[in-house]
């Protein structure tokens, strides 16, 4: 569907996008996730045609598009601040792109009405764009783009300007709309939660490069490096050294002791990072039963997060406490008032991800 091939973009001396290659499938909800300055917006704007590529190709449906001006691309976009035309009413905003297609007036009116229905704003057609709330503008921006039946819809931080509650509601609506229409959506966001909630696949970008492309659970469970692991969710990192090789491979992990890990090309003595999610640990007041790895520690602090909590456990041989996720029970929480008491950390071998040391 969309094939981005070795695309680079330089502004003067700044290399905003470096040799990015990505394939996005038809009907996929794809996200570009990264901090500001990571090149995600530049990449999106190159897809839309607002920025030319310095080198590389952009192919959409088999057609090379990198030299096509934006108004001839089968792509539409929802802008970060919606870019609703302030001098037109809602109806004229939605119908804006139909003029060039030569759609008859009556047909235009019918299509706009259908769109207003779809975005749940029937009867809003004659409102001025300036009288809309943020959420309404967002819907109009969607309708204005979708009425043209694009092959690809680009969304540039579309929910960033909304408050938290509205944002969550719009996330659900966006996802179901995309399912219903089957159009390829490409979303740019710096909000990892939004990317993970909405997308079929996510490309994590940093410094103009794509670091990892994976499904949300793949990113969460199998981050390729410390950067991705830290960017997506909370993560405990442990300095470690590989001991032995082959099927007996194990790691000497600071604070956790020596434990067997999955064999890899790494060799005896290599410095690595072992990453374990807060959910990867189980905390208990007594030594856990069963054969899994375990270590004794001391409960330092509780961080209540509403429904769940993070328990910070100090272990010997490691400066920072280990974060452990636990359910927060209403009323009688077993960890209430347990600060400064000895606890046991247990985890399974699968919970450990071995990454290259930075």
């Amino acid at each position: 569907m969309i094939s981005i091939q070795n695309v680079s973009k330089t502004f003067g001396r700044v290399q905003a996008v470096r040799d990015v290659t990505l394939d996005i499938a038809r009907g996929e909800f794809f996200s570009l996730l990264g901090a500001s300055g990571s090149g995600k917006t530049t990449l999106l704007r190159m897809l839309a045609g607002f920025e030319g590529v310095t080198s590389g190709k952009i192919v959409i449906d088999g057609q090379p598009m990198q030299d096509t001006p934006p108004h001839l691309r089968p792509i539409n976009m929802v802008f970060q601040n919606y870019a609703i035309f302030p001098h037109l009413n809602v109806r004229d905003n939605i119908a804006y792109g139909l003029r060039r297609l030569g759609t008859p007036k009556a047909e235009q009116a019918r299509m706009v009405d259908a769109m207003l229905e779809m975005i749940a704003l029937p009867g809003y057609g004659d409102r001025l764009a300036t009288q809309l709330s943020g959420g309404q503008m967002q819907r109009v921006a969607l309708a204005r783009a979708l009425i043209l039946k694009p092959k690809v819809l680009l969304l540039d931080e579309p929910l960033g300007a909304l408050d938290k509650q509205l944002r969550e509601q719009m996330q659900l609506e966006l996802r179901s709309l995309q399912r219903q229409l089957g159009i390829t959506f490409v979303l740019v966001t710096h909000d990892q939660e939004e990317a993970l909630t909405l997308s079929d696949r996510v490309a994590v970008m940093s410094n103009g490069q794509v670091i990892q492309v994976d499904t949300p659970s793949g990113l969460y469970d199998r981050p390729v490096n410390r950067q991705v692991a830290a960017f997506v969710g909370t993560m405990n990192f442990f300095d470690a050294r590989i001991r032995a090789q082959g099927p007996d491979t194990s790691a000497e992990i600071a604070g956790l002791g020596r434990h067997p890990v999955a064999p890899s090309a790494r060799r005896d003595g290599d410095r690595v990072l072992v990453a374990i999610r807060p959910e990867g640990f189980a905390l208990s007041p007594q030594p856990p039963e069963g054969p899994g790895p375990r270590v004794a520690g001391r409960l330092m602090a509780r961080q209540y997060l509403g429904g769940r909590q993070l328990l910070h456990v100090a272990v010997e041989g490691r400066a920072a406490p280990v974060a452990v996720a636990a359910v927060a029970h209403r009323g009688q929480d077993p960890w209430e008032g347990m600060e400064d008491n000895p606890v046991w950390l247990g985890w399974s071998r699968d919970a450990m991800t071995v990454l290259d040391a930075d």
Partner: protein, 272 residues
């Protein structure tokens, strides 16, 4: 709040000074209308009787109307041409990454500071060497030079303030550059265009120095006044004429300033 107070407290001496300064700015100009209603032939105190005779006399002077027509003709043409030239130029300067933007803008705004005398004589030399007879057209050419900077400095902030993604949205929705301009850009800069038309008209209408060198046998209004200053008996009706010009100029400039700030705070304008 206490920390900010010293900077916001009223300063009475300073306010009085500013008021006095403003009075000084207006005082000489306000004597013109004052004496235009005075029945004496000379502009001096004590005032004599109130009269509208000088305005009536003005009405009987044919050349005044001819000069007015000349000024209107030049002013309208110059306003339209300099605004039409300034719109694309301001857009390019506001929107595009262009090497040499600073020097280009500097060159275009240069006529704001270069003495009009220089442009007057330089253009006079050029048109006379080319054998072009002096006329209202040569005056208009000179006026375009000094009006263009005003038009650009009014339109530039208009383009800079406008939300650039509106035009991108239009392109994204399938409109080419031409239609994007007419459907999106033009409506957003329209107040600026009107302001530019009014202001450049006023500048041209009032301009004297360049007209002095470049006008032929048809005088503009300021040229007419200059020529009549030699005749003491014309003085009171010149005061009446000047009063009318003052009123019109003030009105046009106020309207233009009002338009220039209109719609500055529409949502959808620059937010990022």
């Amino acid at each position: 709040m206490a920390a900010t107070e010293p900077f916001h407290s009223p300063n009475r001496p300073l306010a009085l000074y500013a008021l006095g300064f403003t009075l000084f700015l207006y005082a000489p100009i306000l004597f013109i209308p004052l004496f235009s209603f005075n029945s004496g032939l000379y502009a001096r105190f004590p005032l004599q009787d109130f009269t509208l005779a000088w305005y009536a006399e003005l009405w009987t002077r044919g050349p005044v109307f001819a000069a007015l027509q000349n000024s209107l003709q030049v002013g309208l043409t110059v306003a339209v041409i300099s605004t039409v030239l300034a719109v694309p130029a301001a857009k390019a300067l506001a929107r595009y990454r262009i090497p040499g933007k600073g020097p280009i803008l500097g060159f275009m705004l240069l006529p704001l500071v270069v003495p009009g005398l220089i442009f007057g004589v330089a253009l006079l030399v050029l048109v006379s060497r080319l054998g072009i007879p002096l006329s209202l057209w040569t005056v208009g050419l000179g006026h375009i030079i000094i009006c263009l900077p005003f038009a650009i400095s009014i339109l530039l902030p208009r383009f800079e303030g406008a939300n650039r993604s509106l035009e991108e949205a239009s392109a994204d929705l399938g409109e080419n550059a031409w239609w994007t301009f007419w459907r999106v850009t033009f409506p957003t800069i329209l107040p600026g265009v009107m302001a530019s038309l009014l202001l450049t008209f006023t500048v041209s209408f009032d301009e004297f120095i360049i007209a002095f060198f470049l006008s032929g046998t048809d005088p503009t209004l300021p040229m007419y006044i200059w020529n009549q200053l030699r005749f003491p008996q014309s003085f009171p009706s010149l005061l009446a004429l000047s009063t009318l010009i003052l009123v019109v100029s003030f009105g046009l400039v106020l309207a233009s300033l009002r338009l220039a700030r209109l719609n500055r705070d529409l949502p959808g304008r620059k937010t990022s």
